[in-house]
Symmetry: C2
Subunit: 351 residues, 2 copies
Amino acid sequence: MDDDISAPAAQPGETAVPALRRRATLKTVAHAAGVSPALASFALNGKPGVSPEKREEILRAARELGYQPDTLARELRTGKTAVHGLIVRNIANPYFNDVLAGMQEAAFEHDITVLAMDSEYSEDRERRHIRHLAARRVNSLAIAPVGSAHVVQEWLTLRPGARTVLINSSTHLGPGIPRVSPDGGRAVTMAFEHLRALGHQRIGFLTAPEALRSDEDRLTRFVELCREARAEPVVISAELQGAAITTAIVSALRSRPAPTAIITNSDFAAHYVYMAAHELELRIGDDLSIVGHDDLPTSQLLNPSLTTIAVDRRRLGREAFRRLFGAADGDYHGGVSLVARDSTRPPRPQP
Amino acid sequence: MDDDISAPAAQPGETAVPALRRRATLKTVAHAAGVSPALASFALNGKPGVSPEKREEILRAARELGYQPDTLARELRTGKTAVHGLIVRNIANPYFNDVLAGMQEAAFEHDITVLAMDSEYSEDRERRHIRHLAARRVNSLAIAPVGSAHVVQEWLTLRPGARTVLINSSTHLGPGIPRVSPDGGRAVTMAFEHLRALGHQRIGFLTAPEALRSDEDRLTRFVELCREARAEPVVISAELQGAAITTAIVSALRSRPAPTAIITNSDFAAHYVYMAAHELELRIGDDLSIVGHDDLPTSQLLNPSLTTIAVDRRRLGREAFRRLFGAADGDYHGGVSLVARDSTRPPRPQP
DNA sequence: AGCCTGCTCTAAATCGATTTAGAAAGAGTA
DNA sequence: TACTCTTTCTAAATCGATTTAGAGCAGGCT
């Protein structure tokens, strides 16, 4: 099996190719500059103890040979990786997309690679991703864990001392593990008060089933708000994927008395509520009010436009990065604001 | 040099900490099984030439110690990486999101990690990503290149022999570099014929400016179709990001005679046309017809719902993977189909 | 002279795996 | 007995970097 990529090894039938030299290594550079690899390493890493002439010479050689250090070898030796992991629950959700983009943006400035992975709401996949990262000696991980973050515990065992950040999770794992998320309590409160001000009495809250739930805090706050307002909390639990979610919403909307408004934890999930409403021929706004969360770009284009809680998602990504990088610590709770649009209106007078 | 690894070696000043053992290495395993590291390697990799007893012994030791091979070391030694790179033009576009998801899904089955990166329509970032990947010895890359894929040439030089796949690019780089994309010619034709059947005469086509354009083939086909239909092609070029795109669309819609319909290359871009139309107080459907491309989940929820070309994006991701993995070769042109909705209607009779 | 200090520089070890070359032991054959 | 094969195993080299320990030398000081 010939897979030595760097070897010139002109294939018999091949046309004359410009001799593709082997990739330059530190040894090559050192040799070209007439010094030892050790000195070359010092010079290239800006370490002291190298005479100006030699330093000059070495840098020149490196430039001429197009030397690029081998990341693998460096990481193996130093034990430090220039890679940050990011595991999200659903990469198809534009929310996480923007978080990734923000993180990538910040990482780029520091020449760090972000390894993005999708657990698709499965702890199993989460576990495999974590093992993968550990085997790669990644020692910084931002994760939006499924449920109550069991798998993160495994990660902490696998790579003790690794920097870890929880994204959009209500699980608290200790002071060393900061959490980055929008201010969930505020978000629920704003949504709730907005709906109450419009006159809604019976309000639903859409969330994941308990095992997969990662927004316990919001749910708690919601129930609390309902109690204060002497309203009955309608909790709709559904796997936030595929057909399950539509079915659950449809059945909640069919129950009597039906909620006149629903609060969701993402615009993405709100889309499903739209679909369910279409299915039942309910008019959104008039028959059923909906509040989303995230303010995705498409939300204002929906029919009707979606009332939602705006969040700076890229900022979340950047903040996650800063904590992994060691440029910040402690929790970060991003500010939120309500964007009132046409999906929320006063409820129709009940007969 | 103390290399008796199994010894807990309680440091003198250390408090009684639950002995955090070093991660098991091959050497540890070999030592525990009473064999050389070489034999342990053979056994663990299922190579022949190991007696059944020793093999059993080694596997048991590995299991008990929770041995996980170090990916970095393995990759350094063998020169083969279990990583596939993916560079997209805009990871915020749900389109690429799904491509990534599809690729990740397929990769997962083969225990391969996908390194996803976002070039944000910048060749500069593209170049940096490519160098990063090369430094990591990644030898499989799927890329949705910016413009005419100049940077991919550098990649091919940096890692000659690497498997490379172009995603959604009209550039042809040779037989060894397969392309994976929806059938662009068919897509444009379907959109065009749909609009013509409705009675549209003056049709616009939204595309990136020449330097960033990666859908030359579709544009060509569009111009061809116009010529055949004796209609004037209205080409709207704009950077497909931020404010630039809205401005360009607004000015195109203000020109006289204005196009009565616009074909876009993505639903994502169609969103911007919606915004521009709102700005000009044009009613989509009645005053301006729009055909998107991709059929994102939100497209049917827009106001009005978006007529678009449906594409199986996850499939594209899987096909890209298969080519990187060596399970398939040659170009793949995904099937497309028109989904007629409310954003396309007959043009209003011109006064 | 003798000794210490500081500056450059190099040899060699190291990270953790794979792989090559060959050693050791036993079986079969002439 | 001597020789050739097999089979099973190990020592050592290797991938490409970083890092430690220390060599060599010039200059300053007693």
